[in-house]
């Protein structure tokens, strides 16, 4: 079976985002960019399923500027087999990404698409569910465990009250949560090997779908800043502060 894993290039999670003074967005010039952490988990999961047996090929795909090929190379170095880069310099929203991915799915016929639950830049948490809708497939979102069976996937999901397990008919969509696995680091030999793995480069226009944004971002601003308060000397002083707030009631 073939697995498709969409990966997004985002501001590295360790970098503190800086809002541009003109309100047009977050400054991405000369800052470290990395694979969205949830997508690393998605790639790792695909690799583990391949190591276990049912998966034969892992195809990774990224939509964005030319530099997304670095992100794809990282996925190839981790263990993916083949990459597709769909280039554009325009902002593509989750709905547009899902429409492009639908075309990729139609061409590649994977049995499973594993996405991150959320890209940590725009925090949308939409694309996997949208792709599932467009394809009419089942969706196992926020997965902490995935088991493949005969024509089925059993997915344990992290929900607000705890965990939920659902059974999905394949082909299906899975989106990853933090507890699914711990992604591996690519070894140096694998990084070298990844350089010769195949990468197809396409443009958004090749797919003939309208992905123009539906939302206009009219302003991006910094949230109100919280001021640091005071340090208390000891537990007694903290107890006094709490009592002054009427606690415990």
């Amino acid at each position: 079976m073939k697995v498709l894993v969409p990966v997004k290039r985002v501001l590295d999670y360790n970098v503190k985002p800086r809002v541009k003074a003109d309100g047009s967005g977050v400054d991405l010039a000369n800052v470290k960019m990395s694979m969205n952490p949830f997508d690393e988990i998605a790639v790792e999961e695909a690799i583990r399923l391949k190591e276990k047996g049912p998966v034969e090929e892992i195809v990774v795909v990224s939509i964005g500027e030319q530099k997304c090929q670095e992100t794809l190379r990282t996925a190839l170095a981790m263990g993916a087999d083949r990459a597709i880069l769909i280039t554009t310099d325009e902002r593509v929203e989750p709905l547009g990404v899902a429409k492009l991915l639908q075309k990729v799915v139609e061409a590649e016929s994977p049995e499973l698409v594993i996405l991150g639950k959320q890209a940590i830049d725009d925090d949308n948490n939409q694309t996997g569910q949208m792709l599932a809708a467009l394809l009419g497939w089942a969706q196992g979102t926020f997965a902490s465990k995935v088991e493949l069976g005969d024509g089925k996937a059993t997915v344990t999901r992290e929900i607000d009250g705890g965990l939920e397990t659902d059974e999905l008919t394949l082909p299906a969509i899975v989106t990853t949560d933090l507890r699914l696995n711990e992604p591996r680091y690519a070894s140096l030999p694998n990084i070298m090997k990844a350089k010769s793995k195949p990468m197809d480069t396409k443009t958004v226009a090749d797919y003939g779908v309208d992905v123009s944004p539906r939302l206009t971002v009219t302003n991006v601003s910094e949230p109100p800043k919280r001021q640091a308060g005071e340090k208390v000397a000891d537990v007694d002083e903290l107890v006094a502060k709490l009592k002054a707030m009427g606690v415990p009631a």
């Binding site: 299906a172 949560d177 206009t216 308060g229």
Partner: protein, 309 residues
């Protein structure tokens, strides 16, 4: 504008997250609710009493018992034939269903709104709340999810909406519910508690978490939360995680114990009214947002605090 609000429930009780979504929806126009479930009459009755609600649509069908997105999304799409906006709380249920509805309607969803600026304009957090974006949509229908801490709760009493039974296509036959492991707790619910006590990696194991964090929480009548590190290490279940990719809380008092204050954690709690931090490292970033900071070893300070309160 006519809005359709997703009612969060467990087929017996209506969940509080619904009430903030009702407030957000009421800023857009007329509020209708959807109760999709199985044997969910008590929920429908409760929904009809929410102040400001015009109508409650009830779809009672075994296929909707567990709110599987594959089954409920088509039902919502049908109802959207005569509504202009679908509004869901940004719970895991809402986040699972709403984008599926949006794609079927060919609409770009607006996630996790903080405010309604106009009929087509909203603010929402991006980059773990380090930036706030104002977005304007050109779509004819709206699909939005609502951050619960950003809106007051609508009153659960005072309304007397009409209840209308509706039906949809039922089971799409591509997904089924197997089981849920939902922890029962006597403590208040994390996202609506007025005090939250959270523990981090410094607790080292689940026994310490249980013996040090929980007695303080119980003394204060507080909910218990955790950092990702504490959840990943298995000290507490996943649903305790507060942060960018966990739960968003904004209690009166948030007490962070042995938590460093990574931006991903701050994203989930920095709108709390008063923040208290206990950490042995005086340079821990959590102190930059704390109203009261205590530099101390938690293993000594927290039992002493519990004792003295």
């Amino acid at each position: 504008m006519k809005t359709l609000v997703w009612v969060e429930h467990d087929n017996k009780e209506l969940k509080d997250a619904t009430l903030a979504a009702v407030t957000a929806a009421s800023k857009l126009g007329e509020v209708h609710l959807l109760v999709a479930g199985s044997g969910c009459d008590s929920v429908a009755q409760a929904a009809a009493k929410i102040e400001g609600v015009g109508k409650v649509h009830v779809a009672d069908d075994a296929a909707y018992a567990h709110a599987l997105a594959e089954n409920v999304a088509p039902l919502i799409v049908d109802l959207m034939g005569h509504h202009d906006a679908f509004v869901a709380p940004a719970t895991t249920t809402g986040k699972n269903i709403a984008p599926r509805v949006a794609a079927l309607l060919d609409v770009m969803q607006i996630s996790d709104i903080l405010s309604v600026e106009g009929e087509d304009s909203f603010t929402r957090p991006i980059y773990a709340g380090n930036a706030i974006a104002t977005v304007k949509t050109s779509d004819e229908k709206l699909v939005v999810t609502v951050r619960g801490t950003a809106f007051d709760k609508a009153s659960a009493e005072g309304g007397s909406a009409e209840i209308e039974q509706v039906s949809g296509a039922g089971d799409k036959g591509i997904s089924s519910f197997v089981k849920a492991d939902i922890a029962e707790s006597e403590r208040p619910e994390l996202t609506s508690a007025s005090i939250v006590v959270s523990g981090g990696r410094a607790l080292q194991n689940s026994e310490n978490f249980h013996n040090i964090i929980e007695p303080l929480a119980d003394k204060l009548g507080a909910a218990v939360g955790a950092s990702r590190a504490a959840v990943d290490a298995g000290y507490v279940p996943n649903d305790y995680q507060v942060g960018q990719t966990g739960k968003i809380v904004a209690p009166e008092i948030y007490i962070a114990i042995g938590i460093s204050g990574a931006i991903q954690h701050l994203a989930g709690m920095k709108d709390s009214k008063t923040i208290i931090a206990i950490n042995k490292d005086e340079d821990a970033p959590i102190f930059q947002v704390a109203d009261y900071g205590l530099v101390a070893d938690l293993y000594k300070a927290v039992p002493e605090l519990t004792e003295k309160l």
